[in-house]
């Protein structure tokens, strides 16, 4: 269960890191291109630490348990040969229905306002989440949380500033920013809907993500107020990502991301 818990966090990091990396070379301002690439690097770096930990957990499983963990063909082929898996096998050889990232994070970049809104919603959650996870009894996760908290704090400052700048900028930027926070609102509910692994973690004394919503909403409201943005209206919340049921976007992300590993199986790069 801890394995899926770890993987889910890793998938969040990889998929958001991927999306943000699509901006590289195409940002509106050179300094921001650099800042965003830096953020992408933080996410990819966190993904690596988490996948490494997940791989270690998997490799420590008894053979029978290993065989039943994943359905993805190429990963299972690899496992069935008795080889130990590593971070890349988890990132590159799982199919979409075994990715557990939030729907929010796979949504397209669209424009700068959407990219900022997506990060802002996630960063605001992350600061609360890593603060809690840093107290985890699992020392590996606690260590990752400590580092991630520092990064998330910085990310949140950046995305908050941009929410405010665009919200309280020009008429056009205000309307684009409002549109972005409205359109992405339906993906924020999933932040606080635990999947089985997260329920189990909470029951075992880990982070109870359902308890983070109030503080998160408070933070969002605070920044939106400064940004002169209206809080989005209550809506039906989308879910599924945490259980491997995604939007149509993830398939395209993976087709691109995993192509080389799939086309040249089992090679070292």
């Amino acid at each position: 269960m801890n394995l899926i818990y770890t993987l889910r966090l890793a998938d969040d990091a990889l998929i958001l890191g991927h999306r943000i990396s699509e901006w590289c070379g195409h940002g509106p301002i050179l300094e921001q291109d650099i800042a965003l690439t830096n953020t992408s690097l933080d996410h990819i770096g966190r993904a690596r630490s988490l996948y490494q930990y997940a791989a270690a957990q998997f490799n420590a499983l008894p053979a029978e348990a290993k065989a039943g963990t994943f359905a993805s063909v190429m990963l299972n082929d690899f496992v069935s040969k008795g080889a130990a898996i590593d971070e890349d096998d988890l990132a590159y050889l799982r199919d979409g229905n075994e990715f557990y990232n939030l729907l929010l994070l796979e949504q397209p970049n669209n424009d700068w306002a959407y990219t900022v809104a997506r990060s802002f919603y996630y960063d605001a959650f992350n600061v609360l989440f890593w603060t809690e996870l840093e107290r985890s009894a699992d020392t590996t996760l606690a260590a990752i949380a400590g580092k991630s908290l520092k990064e998330a704090t910085y990310h949140l400052r950046w995305s908050s500033e941009w929410v405010i700048r665009l919200g309280d900028g020009t008429e056009e930027s205000h309307s684009r920013m409002q549109q972005a926070v409205n359109d992405l609102w339906m993906y924020t509910g999933e932040l606080f809907m635990p999947n089985d692994a997260e329920v189990a973690a909470a029951n075992a004394g880990g982070v109870d993500i359902t308890k983070l919503e109030a503080k998160w909403t408070e933070k969002v409201a605070e920044i939106f107020a400064e940004a002169t943005l209206a809080m989005p209206a209550a809506t039906w919340m989308q879910k599924g990502g945490k259980k491997g049921i995604h939007s149509e976007h993830l398939g395209y992300i993976l087709a691109e991301m995993q192509y080389l590993q799939r086309a040249y199986p089992g090679m070292e790069w």
């Binding site: 990396s21 690596r48 890349d88 900028g169 080389l260 040249y264």
Partner: protein
């Protein structure tokens, strides 16, 4: 001082290898030449983000992905230092962008070739950064202070990139047969364009003499190209790759490798805008710029509002 004595003072600094700084008097030609060269160099870094950026989402391992992202980010950083250095000469970054987007400014032609396989990430690091370093190391001692200082940082990072590129090539050439072929094919495609990076043959390179005098240039195109061929041919042996030029041969007498004829017709065509990706590269940058206009407008508007509010607060 009269203009004449300004000129003498400047010349004497140049002779004594003393840096020229932004507030110092300098000849118009010197200023123009530097603006052209530094902005071209900055543009090359920015356009250079695109061919490598093309493989970030498809990097074959997470480690390689992170390293590539960091590299492209470094290039953005180089662009930033260089634009700043050029700005000290009295041109704005927006003016330089405008020259780039309108096709008036040039950038290194090598970035008009497409990146077609993962091995291109290796080949670019190894060959393109390798050639760039040879061109640029002498610029760390160029006469214009801000440019020289920017180049110190740039060269340090680029030699790191060059090693990373070589390491990608090494992994591939020591990998499977398919990977070795991928590496060879990339080498074949990037070799000649890399040689062209040193510019036209000395006989056809008009600015060289003046530039050498100003320490904007310290070696001739052909000198640097020969050095690159010599070094790279040895490195290819380490990689176990075949040289893409069948005429490469050690010349005992010269103490250098002889090499085949460069297709200058191709070079000039790419410079003139006819390379495989010229349009694609400029379009990408122009789109980024145009699609970002509202973002920059918003940032300015917000900053103005903030300032006004602070003013009100102070006044109150």
């Amino acid at each position: 001082m009269t203009v004449h004595s300004f000129q003498e003072h400047f010349d004497s600094k140049i002779d004594r290898e003393v840096s020229i700084e932004p507030r110092d008097w300098m000849p118009d030609d010197y200023r123009k030449t530097l603006i052209r060269q530094i902005s071209q160099h900055a543009h090359s870094e920015i356009i250079g983000m695109l061919p490598e950026g093309n493989w970030i989402t498809r990097a074959p391992s997470l480690r390689r992905k992170a390293v590539l992202l960091a590299k492209v980010q470094d290039e953005a950083g180089h662009g930033l230092y260089l634009y700043s250095a050029a700005e000290t000469l009295g041109i704005t970054r927006d003016q330089m962008y405008d020259q780039l987007h309108s096709g008036k400014a040039k950038y290194s032609s090598i970035f008009n070739y497409p990146t077609l396989s993962w091995a291109d990430m290796g080949a670019i690091g190894w060959l393109v950064d390798g050639a760039a370093i040879m061109n640029q190391v002498p610029l760390c001692r160029t006469s214009y202070g801000p440019y020289a200082r920017a180049m110190v940082r740039v060269c340090k990072e680029e030699s790191f990139h060059q090693r990373q590129g070589f390491e990608i090539m090494l992994s591939l050439s020591r990998g499977t047969e398919a990977q070795r072929k991928m590496a060879q094919e990339a080498f074949d495609r990037w070799w000649w364009p890399s040689l062209m990076m040193f510019g036209p043959p000395d006989a056809e390179s008009p600015n060289t003499e003046q530039s050498v005098r100003w320490r904007i240039k310290r070696f001739t195109n052909d000198e640097l190209r020969q050095k690159f061929v010599d070094v790279t041919t040895e490195q290819a042996k380490v990689l176990g790759l075949e040289m893409p030029d069948k005429d490469i041969k050690w010349n005992e007498e010269r103490g250098h490798y002889d090499f085949g004829k460069i297709d200058w017709n191709e070079f000039w065509n790419v410079v003139k805008g006819n390379g495989p990706c010229n349009k694609q590269r400029i379009d990408a940058r122009r789109n980024a710029w145009e699609n970002g206009q509202w973002v920059r407008d918003a940032a300015l508007a917000h900053a103005a509002k903030r300032k006004a509010r602070t003013g009100e607060t102070k006044a109150a």
